[in-house]
């Protein structure tokens, strides 16, 4: 088969000592970048870019790619151990990953995250190799109304993310939507909710907000609660037990599928993929009450999804020449500076680059598992470091991370503010997760909604005329009924009782 020939060709190129070395370097730096809260792949790749100019383009791109998916591996470590997203795409891993760590299952959670990521990475590698063409078709037929439908579906699903009251989570989603709308309106150029602060003109920095809510908020509440160690039970075993493995497997499969699909869409990638996977997992689970309290599926699915999404987000870049997120924009810059023109012809003109990168992804994933599994023992020891030392390091890295996204001290203040919010929210019985999803989705929903209406010259039928959009809206409606009906019935039952 031609495919195997091409893959073999890619592997041949990827296992030259030089390419192996740069693949390993990328994976290793990526792991570090992932583990350190805030310090993200965008800032790191931007810093490393000049170094890559002197390398052959294939080696350079292999290294930068390794850095991106390596960060997906590392990010879960911090999320699980100290409840702080090492990477924005591991925000959702905090929910159940850290709960598992508190129950003494930190080792198991780390192992599941690493193995799940490896499986997802392997599948995503083959998806890129086999399905690039049809995946591009999806991305290039999706018009504004279809994105709107998809995002509405995501928003409805956000309500499902909530563990407690539906009303409170709806409120949180709405607050998130408002926060997500801060900034310059793309259609009219008007400023909204910026209070004349120019730093808010592009919106609130997502990294600052997420690290504030989860990271700084967690530090404050730990200090308030014990002023010492957070309550962590002793680690029982470093490996997942049979029951955990049995529950993780299907979740990894679903996470991989969702991550691979969402990664291809513009604006997608690891972040939306991990949230999507978590929501679906919770909805499908027979034990939704366990989510948030250390459900294995809540670690396995999003971790598989973010790695799959990170890798499939290369598809639009490699096949259309269109970057779907900030990391891909930097990859595009690296290619352009090396004199490579990314576009539909890349696969034909530079098959060496295309296939070597794909093959290196699998090799990189293998390396990451080998790097990460032995480290689990070491990471778990981190839980024994007295919290009064640990929290200082955490806060410093959070500040570096928040600063380095836009080189902005303002963003550090934003993080501090949301740190207080993140501390107070659980006190009033609200959760930050639906809020964060609202923040992610708000700009997409609004932008695509209004753009659709401009395209249709004001006709609302456009949302029903396009089958993809209509389909998503219908499913959203069913979801909403499924959530609302039981509570309505309960309400009526109570009414009858009186």
């Amino acid at each position: 088969m031609e495919l195997f020939g091409q893959l073999a060709y890619g592997f041949e190129l990827a296992i030259t000592p030089q390419n192996l070395l740069f693949c390993f370097l990328g994976a290793l730096i990526g792991t570090l970048v992932g583990v350190l809260p805030g310090l993200g792949p965008v800032a790191t790749i931007a810093m490393l870019l000049p170094i890559t100019f002197t390398l052959p383009p294939v080696a350079a791109l292999i290294m930068l790619a390794g850095l991106y998916y390596g960060a997906q591996y590392g990010g879960s470590t911090t999320a699980i151990l100290v409840n702080i997203p090492g990477e924005s795409s591991s925000v959702v891993t905090c929910l159940d990953g850290h709960a598992m760590a508190r129950k003494g299952r930190a080792g198991a959670a780390l192992a599941i995250a690493a193995l799940g990521s490896f499986f997802a990475g392997t599948v995503a590698t083959f998806i890129i190799a086999i399905f690039s063409a049809p995946m591009v078709w999806i991305a290039s037929t999706f018009q504004s109304p279809d994105y709107f439908g998809l995002m509405i579906f995501g928003l409805i699903a956000a309500v499902v993310l909530a563990q407690g009251s539906v009303v409170r989570s709806i409120v949180m989603v709405l607050v998130g939507l408002v926060l997500g709308l801060v900034g310059t309106d793309i259609t009219t150029g008007q400023s909204r909710f910026t209070f004349g602060i120019p730093q808010l003109s592009e919106g609130i920095s997502f990294v600052a907000l997420a690290m504030g809510l989860f990271g700084v908020g967690e530090v404050i509440s730990n200090l308030a609660r014990t002023f010492g160690k957070p309550e962590v039970q002793p680690v029982t075993s470093l490996w997942p037990n049979r029951e955990e493995a049995r529950r993780a497997t299907p979740a990894v499969l679903r996470g991989t599928a969702i991550g691979s699909l969402l990664g291809v869409l513009p604006g997608g990638g690891a972040l939306i993929a991990s949230f999507g996977a978590y929501v679906i997992e919770k909805k499908w689970s027979k034990r939704p009450q366990e989510f948030g309290n250390g459900a294995v599926e809540g670690v396995a699915a999003p971790e598989a999804a973010n790695n799959a999404g990170a890798q499939t987000s290369f598809i639009p870049l490699l096949t259309l020449g269109l970057p779907s997120n900030a990391v891909m924009a930097l990859m595009l810059a690296a290619m352009t500076i090396h004199g490579i023109v990314p576009g539909p012809k890349l696969m034909v003109e530079r098959p060496d680059l295309f296939w070597a990168m794909i093959a290196s992804m699998w090799i990189g994933n293998l390396m990451l598992v080998i790097i990460n599994l032995p480290l689990i023992r070491l990471w778990v020891m981190l839980l024994n470091v007295p919290y009064r030392y640990l929290y200082l390091a955490i806060l410093i890295f959070c500040c570096i991370g928040a600063y380095s996204v836009n080189n902005s001290t303002f963003d550090v203040m934003v993080m501090a503010l949301f740190g207080v919010v993140g501390y107070l929210l659980p006190k009033i019985g609200c959760e930050p997760a639906p809020l964060i999803l609202g923040v992610i989705l708000a700009p997409h929903i609004e932008e695509n909604f209004r753009r659709s209406l401009v395209v249709s010259r004001g006709s609302w039928w456009i949302f029903l005329e396009r089958p993809v959009c209509a389909g998503f809206l219908l499913v959203s409606l069913l979801f909403m009924l499924a959530v609302l009906l039981p509570s309505i019935r309960k309400g009526r039952e109570e009414a009858f009782r009186e």
Partner: protein
């Protein structure tokens, strides 16, 4: 305080002033003695950043110091402009500006806390970035600019054109073209050029002004068609593609430049030294070839010529902005 004490104090004061002046002159002589920060108003990996990275190493060699890029993205580049406008003119903070940040923005934004001319010291332009009329042949099957105008004229208000953002040169340049060609289309802004090109590929928009380097890959694959360049001369990389001026609208030109500026009050000695270094880099064959390879033309001017360019362009863009009705808070 005795008179003699006062006199000696004032003498010390004079000595301080004199030595400060002298040091200032000496500082300009030996400039640069430490790394230079160049602020960019757009994120790492942007089209501007690609050019910046291409000239970085040769410029470092020319100046004998390290160049650090500081990305302060936001408000169409105004965040970065504000920082540099208020920076000390010590020769270590500059901005890699564009016809957008130092031309369009002056009239597009309702209020700016700085003036794009009086708060800056122009050093030198670096490249001209051509815009090109790009169409999706599946939506509007035009072979050249004339045919394109004819097709659109038959269906006023029907077709959409995209842009990389409200008030971007891709938006205003095409608005200018619409006025010049007497056609009526609907503008749809996207967030950045990848999203805009994607929309053109899936047919949500028919066409747009695109910066040449962003559509080279699609052009090669034949998925999008390039009809006319916005420059006054053809682009050497694609000599077969005529300019809009020669194809349909004589005299039409809409060019955006990228160039180096410092804060106001910069020592003229530093300005001329930096300008000379940029001149040397732009004469480097390898740099020219790299820039031309992605469709950009080197543009060199003296600092005074560059100041005049900014003044002229600002007035021209103000006209275009006014006609288009675009505005940003």
């Amino acid at each position: 305080m005795s008179v003699s004490r006062l006199a000696s104090l004032s003498r010390i004061g004079l000595a301080v002033v004199v030595s400060a002046l002298f040091c200032g002159a000496a500082a300009a002589q030996s400039w640069p003695t430490k790394p230079i920060t160049i602020v960019q108003g757009f994120p790492a990996g942007s089209g501007l950043d690609i050019i910046a990275r291409i000239i970085q190493a040769p410029l470092e060699k020319e100046l004998g110091t390290t160049i650090v890029f500081d990305y302060k993205a936001g408000a169409g580049g105004n965040l970065a402009s504000e920082i540099v406008a208020k920076a000390a003119p010590d020769g270590y903070t500059f901005i890699f500006g564009t016809a957008g940040t130092h031309g369009i923005n002056a009239s597009l934004y309702k209020k700016l806390s700085f003036d794009v001319e009086s708060d800056f010291t122009p050093i030198a332009p670096i490249v001209d970035v051509p815009n090109v009329i790009t169409v999706n042949p599946k939506v509007v099957d035009a072979k050249d600019v004339k045919e394109f105008i004819e097709i659109i004229k038959k269906q006023p208000g029907k077709q959409n054109y995209g842009s990389s953002g409200n008030g971007a040169s891709t938006h205003l340049g095409f608005a200018q073209f619409n006025v010049a060609a007497g056609i009526d289309m609907v503008h749809i802004p996207y967030k950045g050029s990848p999203a805009a090109i994607q929309a053109m590929l899936n047919g949500e928009t028919c066409c747009q002004f695109a910066q040449l380097q962003t559509v080279l890959g699609q052009h090669k694959a034949g998925t999008l068609r390039l009809l006319g360049m916005s420059t006054s001369k053809r682009v050497p990389l694609l000599p077969d593609i005529p300019t809009i001026a020669e194809a349909a609208i004589p005299g039409f030109e809409s060019v955006t430049w990228y160039g180096m500026l410092g804060p106001k009050g910069l020592d003229p000695a530093i300005v001329s030294k930096f300008n000379a270094a940029i001149k040397a880099v732009l004469e480097d064959k390898e740099v020219v070839a790299k820039l031309a390879g992605i469709g950009n033309a080197v543009r060199y001017e003296t600092a005074d010529q560059f100041r005049a360019t900014i003044k002229k362009d600002r007035a021209q863009w103000a006209e275009v902005v006014k006609k288009s009705g675009a505005t940003v808070d």
